[in-house]
Symmetry: C2
Subunit: 256 residues, 2 copies
């Protein structure tokens, strides 16, 4: 029985500014069949509001509480734990943390900072960590599909660098964090086992969702998908499909 | 029976431009007692010639073949394997690879590139790696003691980042590579078990030497040494001493 669908965005619904063929109609089809749809993105280069606007531009209406991003999860974490962040994130993401200015402790927050990943910024974060700061990773994805079509380094590589040097592990806020997948279902009348995840990242989206107790996880052959991804990480995908349109066919066939 | 002494440089013989008190005399004492002395440095911000000159400036005469650096080991490796390097190293180190211009394959070479560790340079190295280039790490040290006295990120963190993202492991050329320790003894009539290593890095110098079959390894409490280092990595040091002068006392007491 499938009651809710969790969708990754980049590489599943759109590539850069271009919708993936059939994706917008596929989302519409899920909704018209009465399935709850939630968007779970590890993109940490754009603020929440910009992603909602980008989806609206493609013709996908998304309510404020239907989109889950690691930055929002991190801001909640910082408030709850009373920490002030030292941000190593993309400049566009800084305003998401405007509310987190006061607290007794410091926390290093690492996202996909892109060109802001300078040696000086990495070293400043490292020094905060060995000085006792908490360590949050918005995401630990290895790669993303870049504007030129090639794979580029994502936040996970830089998180790994800091973990290695500081000898401490980051708390991951986005996918594949169990809490993140479960939070995305919090407003839906659906147990994790009744949800299905669709993504192009065999590790964070697919293996991550299954480990978090999501009932099934589909790998699409769009976005950053590369041949061999289906067996690169365990657990393996429930099914491999060409794109989101095919994923929706699968979901409607298996909704029980 | 101790016949040869391998000495780390930064943090053991000098800190930045300043000799560590008693260190220069200690080196002299080893030589006057007929022990072979070889210098094994993982510093990858200075070329071989500059390190020899720096030591001469401190009053330590070092022959060309008494100093072993990862850059030199890497240049030999590239020649042997017929690879052209893609260098992600400190600008001062680039001339060390001037001879490695031709070859059938590419090899990414990562050293402590300092401010040259930009996102763009890291991403270019990553793309070469997933395109099939060989992967050489001059060193995998986590930290070094910086000019301001604090610990700073060393090459190991950035090697870890690339290993994580590309899913392949680097071949390490400097310490703690077994080949590197053994190469340093190649011109000396001394089995590895008859040599002693002295260093301030409990992982690369001390545990690394012992794993490579060096007979004993002393950890000095100078340079980047921090309380607790003696038990942080296995195997533990043969002995912990205050500084190089105390290390030489230990060596002369235990030379058999």
């Amino acid at each position: 029985m499938i009651r809710a669908v969790l969708l990754d965005l980049s590489g599943v619904v759109y590539d850069g500014d271009t919708p993936i063929p059939g994706a917008v109609e596929a989302v519409e089809r899920l909704r018209s069949q009465g399935l709850a749809v939630r968007f779970v993105s590890n993109t940490t280069r754009s603020p929440h509001r910009a992603i909602v606007a980008q989806l609206a531009g493609l013709g996908v209406t998304v309510g404020r509480d239907e989109l889950f991003t690691p930055a929002r999860a991190a801001a909640d974490w910082l408030t709850r734990e009373g920490c002030v962040p030292d941000l190593l994130v993309h400049p566009d993401l800084v305003p998401e943390f405007a509310g987190n200015k006061f607290g007794a402790r410091r926390a290093v927050v690492v996202g996909d900072a892109a060109d802001a990943f300078t040696y000086a910024a990495m070293n400043a974060a490292f020094r905060q960590l060995i000085d006792g700061a908490a360590f949050l990773a918005l995401a630990v994805n290895r790669t993303f599909k870049d504007a030129d079509g090639g794979l580029s380094l994502d936040a996970g590589a830089f998180v790994a660098a800091l973990e290695f040097a500081a000898g401490k592990q980051a708390t991951v806020l986005g996918k594949p964090s169990r809490d993140f997948f479960h939070a995305a279902l919090s407003g839906v009348d659906c147990a994790p086992g009744q949800a299905v995840m669709v993504g192009d990242d065999a590790e964070s989206d697919v293996a991550g969702a299954l480990r978090a107790g999501i009932g099934s996880a589909l790998l699409v052959r769009t976005g950053k998908y590369r041949a061999g991804d289906e067996s690169r990480f365990a657990p393996h995908p429930t099914a491999i499909v060409n794109d989101l349109a095919a994923a929706v066919d699968w979901i409607l066939d298996h909704r029980g």
